[in-house]
Amino acid sequence: MATRDQLRGTLEVLILKTLTWGPRHGYAIARWLEETSSEILRIEEGSLYPALYRMEQRGLIKSDRRISELGRPAKFYHLTASGRRQLQVETAGWLAFAREVTRVLQAEA
């Protein structure tokens, strides 16, 4: 079972990943997560927004106001240098972890 912290960590990595393609507002992040990931990783808006605020407070992402599809200003998020670094570290960690688990699970008796 993944603990709450781990889930939160996962959500943050996914958000960071989403923002590597450029600034997005909260709804766009939610949509991208819905489209790219399956039901297992389904993320509620209820946890997405607090995560965004927390990450902004920690300096992983920054927000500014840009014109949205509705033609009026909305809050857009983009990666900071420290967010980019965090993403690299987390990605490397995840891949190493996944490789190791895969190796163990596929091991011949």
Binding site: Y27, E44, R65, I67, K75
Partner: protein, 894 residues
């Protein structure tokens, strides 16, 4: 991408940031709206779509409030960061502005630094010596008890001790058993003890104390036990306590020492305990290494006149010093007469005083005066900062006006000026702390011996904080006030009139400040010239003997030798033989109480030229037992009769030589030679009159003194004098070499050049004068700097005026005078206020003056000339520069 495209360039920051609540509400509303649209586009009915979009958040209020909380925290830290960024910017700006005016900045910083540095350094000394409580339990109730005798007050010799006479056994018993106002009375007496330490025998400072001393101080031994009540009695047990420091140094802190035996003055003593660390009864002397019980010696009891103890007690709760003084005085006058007749004079009384005050009584007055001088100096520094700041504010009028015109708000300008003032004060404070830290070291290192507690002095942080605060407040007040006035006056006016015109009021304040500064400086400078004149008189005083090439040798005796008169005599003649062979020595002799060695003794004398009443004991005279060649060796002139010769020995006629002062007092109007003098229970024939000699302080009046042949009187101690042209170190080595082998009971304690001993005797005066000169110099420099600054700026402002007048034909000298006039008025006013102030302040210094009156016109005149001259110079230079300016350049400058 253009800004209009979705997700394009960020929009500019709004002027007022949205509150976290609005921010979160907006964002969630946007999300809901987008989701609704998408759902409708995929065919959901609009009302269902709206509900589904909201339900995506499950609990929208909880999510909102969670986000709001985080956003609030985020904004807080952003604001904090912003604040520090702004502060940093302000400080950077302030530093840039100061760097553009380096002369002003440097002067202000140095002024503040000197003020803070000097005042905190001195405060630290005052605090360490006088204010910090003694490290004993309830030190406010510890009192010193001394005997006072009115009849000694006017005695030529004893007036120096009339109010701190030591006690003896019978005083102790009487007061301790009967006094109701004091409790725990304890005695202590200083001495030196030869201790056989593992590293070899050592002559160590020691104390004899009554057994209750530690209890009275409220202390316990660090190790072992305290003295017991039965131990401070005649022929009591040989027990001793060692100081923590000596125990550590000589016995390496070996705790098995307690209970063991150590040889003290060639007698085995049992070490019963180790004293608490740092315990020091007399704060002006080194820590006493050995404590042993008092009152064990037969001399303490048998000879009632043998009094050698200082007394200490605790004031009982509720009792006052006055009550204790009255009660103990009563007891002492009862004790002054016993069955065998009077043992003390009629006017005997007690002086009871808080112990700390008693210990510092000789230095208190001078430290308070020093403290006052420091206050003046800090004041001068503040006034100087004020003048500098006012001048700057006036100069920056147009700059500030321009910035107001360009839209800078008053808060912004005030904040920036404040930052500048505080930056200046802080830089000054840093310099000040450095100056203070160094000064404290120097003050302690240069201090003459005998200032109680001087070695525990350290930089006092509270004092630093206080001085920094004073300097900061001054800087802020005088930096900000004019700026605020300018701001209120309105920007248009300021811009129109331009620099210099509105500052007329400011200039009046500046000249008043100059007057104050000059007056304060004059007070300090006059005090310093007065002390300088006094010291000059003092050092020029003839001691009554020839100091050149004279060296004094002092000895430590062990206990037996001190009583063994024939052995002492043998030592003296052997030492004479050894030293006579000393190469380069032109004169050698010995006597008791060689001047400036600190040893002296006195007793009453009566002459056959005067009548005395039945209970009159005669006036005291200093007494010296000398070898025949002593007076010749010292270079003391023989005014009548002869000096001693080898015929004046034990068994021959008892002879005595008197000093001029003794001849004047007891042989008024008759020639003393051939008359007789009653001294130490015997009549002696006066064979000569010699010149007066100073023996402890050059400043003291000449005291009556008598000399007797060493062979005819067992004085119990002696020093040697050697006159030699050779250098001191080699001479000292040679002396030590030659004296080493004569007698194991005598060791050379010290060999000093007489000039050094005399120098040490007025060390305190020299120190005081040095400090005063330092203050006078700093104060004058500050005043001159202030004057120079004001004049320079005033002249700079009036360059245009000078140009016009020069063009109209005014000569350079007329212009110079016109430029100087205003400032000199301030200086003159300052001198006028300063002269009576200086005279009043000088009166406080009367006790420290020798050979000059507090109103000494030369000292005051010198101070006025010095300060006035420097002020003239500081005024003249810039004025002259302005007067010589080319009219064309001056007119173009505006």
């Amino acid at each position: 991408m253009t800004p209009d495209e979705p997700g394009g360039r960020p929009l500019p920051e709004p002027i007022f940031n949205a509150s976290p609540a609005d921010e979160v509400a907006d964002e969630i509303a946007f999300h809901v709206e987008m989701r609704t649209r998408d759902l409708i586009a995929r065919g959901t009915a609009p009302d269902i779509a709206a509900r589904m979009a909201r339900e995506g958040f499950s609990d929208i209020t909880r999510v909102s409030s969670e986000c709001r909380d985080i956003a609030e925290r985020r904004d807080q830290s952003v604001r904090r960061a912003q604040y520090f960024t702004n502060l940093l910017q302000d400080v950077q700006f302030a530093l840039r502005m100061l760097a553009r005016r380096p002369a002003f900045a440097l002067l202000a910083i140095l002024t503040i630094g000197l003020g803070i540095g000097a005042s905190t350094a001195i405060y630290s000394v005052v605090d360490g010596v006088m204010l910090r409580p003694l490290p004993f339990a309830d030190p406010g109730h510890l009192v010193a008890i001394w005997v006072t005798e009115q009849r000694f007050r006017d005695d030529a010799t004893l007036h120096t001790i009339w109010d701190h006479i030591v006690m003896g056994h019978e005083d102790y018993d009487g007061i301790r058993t009967q006094a109701k106002t004091v409790t725990g009375m304890a005695l202590w007496g200083r001495g030196r003890t030869l201790a056989r330490a593992p590293g070899g025998p050592q002559m160590l400072p020691s104390l004899r104390v009554t057994s209750n001393m530690l209890t009275t101080l409220g202390l316990r031994p660090a190790l072992g036990r305290d003295f017991l009540p039965g131990e401070d009695v005649l022929n009591g047990p040989h027990v001793a306590m060692l100081s923590w420091e000596t125990w550590q140094k000589e016995w390496n802190g070996d705790s098995s020492l307690v209970g063991k035996s150590v040889e003290l003055d060639n007698v085995p003593y049992t070490v019963i305990g180790i004293l608490p660390r740092g315990l020091r009864m007399d704060r002006s002397a080194p820590i006493a290494a050995v404590w042993s019980p008092a009152l064990q010696d037969s001399s303490d009891l048998v000879q009632r006149h043998n009094r050698s103890y200082a007394a200490l007690a605790r004031l009982k709760p509720g009792a006052t010093i006055q009550q204790a003084t009255a009660e103990v005085s009563g007891l002492l006058s009862k004790l002054a007469i016993d069955s065998r007749g009077p043992v003390r004079g009629k006017g005997v009384a007690a002086r009871v005083e808080e112990w700390q005050i008693d210990q510092t009584r000789t230095v208190r007055a001078s430290l308070w005066i020093l403290f006052g001088a420091v206050g003046l100096l800090l004041l001068i520094a503040c006034v100087n900062v004020a003048t500098l700041m006012l001048g700057e504010a006036a100069r920056r009028e147009s700059e500030i006006a321009a910035r107001v015109a360009l839209g800078a708000g008053p808060e912004r300008i005030a904040r920036q000026l404040l930052t500048e003032s505080i930056t200046l004060s802080l830089l000054g404070a840093i310099i000040g702390c450095a100056i203070a830290a160094v000064s404290v070291q120097v003050l302690v290192a240069m201090a003459p011996a005998g200032i109680p507690g001087i070695d525990s002095v350290h930089l006092d942080l509270r004092a630093v904080a206080f001085a920094v605060a004073v300097a900061a407040v001054t800087g802020i007040l005088f930096g900000l006030a004019p700026a605020l006035v300018l701001l209120r006056r309105g920007q248009q006016k300021a811009v129109r009139v331009g620099a210099g015109q509105t500052a007329r009021g400011g200039r009046a304040v500046q000249h008043t400040l100059i007057a104050v500064e000059v007056a304060l400086s004059l007070v300090l400078l006059a005090g310093c010239t007065l002390l300088g004149r006094s010291l000059e008189r003092l050092t020029a005083t003839d001691p009554g003997f020839d100091v050149r090439g004279l060296t004094a040798i002092q000895f430590d005796f062990d206990r037996e030798l001190w009583r063994d008169q024939p052995r002492q005599a043998r030592y003296v003649s052997a030492a004479m033989r050894e030293l006579t062979a000393l190469p380069g020595a032109t004169a050698i002799s010995a006597g008791s109480g060689v001047p400036f060695t600190g040893s002296n003794s006195s007793s009453p004398v009566k002459s056959d030229a005067r009548e005395y009443g039945p209970d009159e004991s005669g006036g005291n005279a200093q007494q010296r037992a000398i070898l025949p060649g002593y007076l010749r060796a010292m270079g003391t002139p023989v005014l009548a009769g002869r000096t001693f010769n080898d015929g004046d020995r034990d068994g021959s006629e008892l002879v005595i030589i008197v000093s001029e002062a003794e001849a004047r007092r007891d042989f008024a109007g008759v020639a003393p030679v051939g008359r007789r003098l009653y001294w130490q229970g015997q009549w002696r024939t006066v064979v000569g009159v010699v010149g007066d000699v100073k023996y402890a302080q050059l400043s003291r009046n000449n005291e009556p003194m008598v000399y007797v042949p060493f062979d005819q009187y067992a004085s119990g101690n002696f020093e040697f004098v050697v006159r030699s042209a050779s250098g001191a170190p080699s001479l000292q080595r040679a002396i030590r070499d030659r004296l080493k082998k004569i007698d194991a009971g005598v060791s050379v304690a010290s060999i000093d050049r007489m000039s050094d001993l005399i120098g040490k005797s007025y060390g305190e005066e020299r120190y005081r004068t040095l400090l005063a000169s330092l203050f006078g110099a700093i104060a004058s420099i500050l005043a001159i700097v202030g004057i120079f600054g004001v004049v320079s700026r005033g002249v700079a402002r009036r360059t245009r005026e000078a140009g016009i007048r020069a063009a109209l034909g005014a000569s350079a000298s007329v212009l110079t005078r016109a430029m100087m006039g205003e400032t000199l008025l301030g200086v003159g006013l300052g001198l006028m206020i300063g002269i009576p102030a200086a005279i009043a302040a000088s009166r406080l210094m009367k006790p420290f003056l020798f050979g000059v009156s507090p109103n000494d016109p030369v000292a005051l005149g010198a101070a006025i000339l010095l300060l006035g001259g420097a002020a003239m110079l500081a005024t003249y230079r810039p004025a002259q520069r302005a007067a010589r300016v080319d009219p064309v350049i001056a007119l173009r400058a505006e």
